[in-house]
């Protein structure tokens, strides 16, 4: 089995896994970070979104071996101790979640969006959120949260 090493949330990690192991299972089952969720497992829902080298990807559609040597960020890496990341705080305050299952992927997509696009308006947020599905909220408060979070992040 290949030994796959990468940096997850700033920490060097390594595990022996089969080549067919998906990045999401590497993160959840081998590294023990279960904040990244498996929703659909078919690349539709976005509950598994993480950042690989600063770009949001679906970790259910990426092999762990493809991320060898990469810098990976998951939802667990956002907060600074007890202090929420501005995007997490915005989701909390704008009621941007109900059951919370899609939230890790939503927040990771939102942070990528805010990092890479400035002056986000509602239409752009909705368009760029195409790859994240929420079955509870109807999206209004998620969009509101992302707009607020992006502003808090300086966008």
């Amino acid at each position: 089995m290949p030994t796959v090493s990468m940096t997850v949330n700033g920490k060097a990690v390594s595990a022996d896994v089969e080549a067919r192991t998906l990045l999401v299972h590497y993160i959840r089952d081998h590294i023990g970070l279960t904040g990244t969720h498996v929703g659909c497992d078919t690349s539709q829902c976005g509950a598994c979104v993480v950042h690989v080298n600063g770009k949001s990807v679906k970790s259910c559609s990426t092999l762990a071996v493809q991320a060898e040597g990469a810098d990976v960020a998951t939802i667990e890496g956002l907060a600074n101790g007890e202090e929420l990341h501005p995007m997490q705080a915005a989701f909390k305050e704008n009621h941007g979640l109900q059951c919370g299952f899609c939230t890790p992927g939503m927040v990771m997509s939102a942070v990528d969006l805010a990092n890479n696009m400035k002056n986000l308006d509602e239409a752009t947020i909705r368009e760029q959120l195409d790859g994240n599905i929420c079955r509870c909220t109807g999206y209004h408060n998620i969009v509101k949260s992302i707009k607020d979070g992006a502003e808090r992040m300086g966008g």
């Binding site: 080549a19 990528d112 760029q128």
Partner: protein, 264 residues
């Protein structure tokens, strides 16, 4: 997903020899189709040869009015490229509307073309713009590259290295999306080029194709109204739960008109 042996070569030559040594190997680019197919056990290659580690296959350059895009350049990189936006804005816009944001961060132009999905966007782009597909063995004109349903001119071990697009005078791609998959129910790319108007249609039939009737009408009179008189044959249109043949044929005209109007 069944097990496989994984290879990550650093050069095109090492990639072809890795594939040559495999029982039933496949190249892996962004993996946004292949991995999903393997998860469904619709494909079970013995080996995956990952092209992601080959630096020569990445990057975008512009020279003499031609944009050349390395095969493993992602859709997000094409969409965000100031060079592509400047030379062929319609191509940057097409790349920026493929799949969703996360798919665009992983999926590649070479992977999309080698897969040649009947509803993919890039096959329409290479046909409409008269692009040239460069491989480790030869150069292939777009018109010779697309062969059929998921079928291209590529040989088993051939690797796309880059794709060169001559900049048109103007161009526009209009897509009617299947809202769940975001693939084209029908997409039409219209380009005014040095060789006249070129039109390519994707999503409508088994593979992307040129639209000779539309081209003839638009070469005579480049206006949306010229599209009205064109008869789109319904015989070979795809039929599925999302759209019937007549609906798709009508969409070809609607998208063509919108593209002509967007060309200005």
């Amino acid at each position: 997903m069944y097990g496989f042996d994984y290879h990550r070569p650093g050069s095109v030559a090492d990639a072809t020899s890795a594939l040559g040594g495999a029982d039933d190997g496949k190249y892996l680019a962004g993996g946004q189709t292949l991995l999903a197919t393997m998860k469904q056990r619709l494909a079970a290659p013995s080996d995956l040869v990952d092209l992601g580690g080959i630096a020569d296959l990445k990057g975008i350059s512009v020279s003499g009015g031609t944009v050349t895009i390395g095969a493993t350049t992602t859709h997000a990189e094409v969409a965000a490229s100031a060079d592509v936006q400047g030379a062929i804005p319609s191509l940057a816009a097409l790349a920026g509307d493929i799949g969703d944001r996360q798919v665009r961060n992983a999926g590649t132009i070479g992977g999309s073309l080698a897969n040649n999905d009947p509803a993919a966007d890039y096959p329409a782009a290479i046909l409409a713009l008269g692009a040239t597909v460069t491989t480790n063995k030869r150069e292939i004109a777009a018109d010779d590259f697309i062969k059929g349903l998921f079928e291209t001119a590529l040989e088993e071990d051939e690797i796309i290295t880059s794709v060169s697009f001559p900049a048109p005078t103007s161009g526009a791609y209009m897509k009617f999306k299947q809202p769940a998959s975001r693939f084209a129910l029908v997409g039409v790319y219209v380009a005014k080029t040095a060789d006249g108007v070129r039109v390519a249609v994707t999503g409508a039939t088994s593979h992307a194709h040129r639209g000779p009737r539309l081209e003839a009408a638009l070469n005579e009179n480049f206006s949306a109204s010229a599209v009205d008189g064109v008869e789109i044959p319904v015989d070979h249109m795809n039929v599925d739960i999302h759209a019937g043949a007549e609906y798709r044929a009508n969409l070809v005209k609607v998208m063509a008109k919108r593209a002509v109007e967007a060309c200005g």
